[in-house]
């Protein structure tokens, strides 16, 4: 999974019906530059500035109840930044 920080929200009125109901959050991965920025679906309620865990590709479908064309999904809010070596 990708560890990252929520840095913004994406608003898309004209979108696929199956995306309705999911917040779309911009996540900046902790490791790797801006080019790895991505948009993830969310139902946990992560807020701006929170550190989150994102799963990708088809595994996202195991985080939602009905199939949807979403290839990145927030699956957890991290309690505190991991301390490397512990």
């Amino acid at each position: 999974m990708i560890l990252g920080t929520v840095v913004g929200t994406v608003v898309s009125t004209r979108k696929m019906q199956s995306l309705v109901g999911y917040k779309l959050l911009m996540v900046q991965p902790l490791y790797g530059g801006e080019e790895r920025m991505l948009v993830a679906g969310d139902t946990i309620g992560a807020g701006i500035g929170e550190m989150v865990l994102v799963t990708t590709d088809e595994t996202t479908q195991h985080a939602i109840e009905r199939k949807a064309p979403i290839d990145a999904f927030i699956v957890g809010i991290v309690d505190s930044p991991p301390i490397l070596g512990k």
Copy 2:
């Protein structure tokens, strides 16, 4: 998902039958250089210059009615560029 701008159209007369009916649009991701340029299928009707949300890999199959060999698909047109930190 990938946030990007529609920058062109791809025309392919000799293609798989299962691709017929989908517009094929060139999308330049907002984050990451030209090397991340990709071709995405579209049924929403995104136009050149519009900012779109693209899903990838097998999750594309949840955006279309019949299976097709398309690994990137436009799932939304973004209302306005996201403001980071909000």
Copy 3:
């Protein structure tokens, strides 16, 4: 999908039975350097120098009749290089 040019052929006599019958073509993506070179299966008959559209990962299975361990497949031959902005 990836837009690229066919630049060579791969010959593999000792291969999985399920790969038999597919031409294996080397494709240099239009965007991104040589490190993105890949080998794609083909049944459309793309020739050396032609510009093609390649789909990847599990979506390749929707381009072929029986399941095969191929993660990149040519799904179209592009009529002419896309003109950006049109």
Copy 4:
């Protein structure tokens, strides 16, 4: 698969129910810089500093008993760093 070293643990109290029961370990791939750092699920019991083998994407589902939104999973602990050329 990815060869990497376990360098930390991730604690996420507010997470998807289907993630409960899996340790979440930070893995630094042996090849490629910090930008390739990832979080992997674990049931083998890998410890900090151990070299592990990680599988990714939907193939993770073949390492666990019930479906879960996890796109990276530890599938082995490597006996000793591979000697290239042998």
Copy 5:
């Protein structure tokens, strides 16, 4: 698919039961630096120094008889390095 050279073997005694029976070989992709090094499963019997064709992600499951958490698998041994332009 990825074209690469077998450069080593990985030994993992403590591994998932479903990985038993597959040789685990280190493959250096022909295109792209060391950061793209990966570990692939093998049943064809590729040797050190041989050039191989590797498929990835869920498509690996079409190369094996029973499901296994392996996201890269050798599907062919290449007769000779491809000559670009032919």
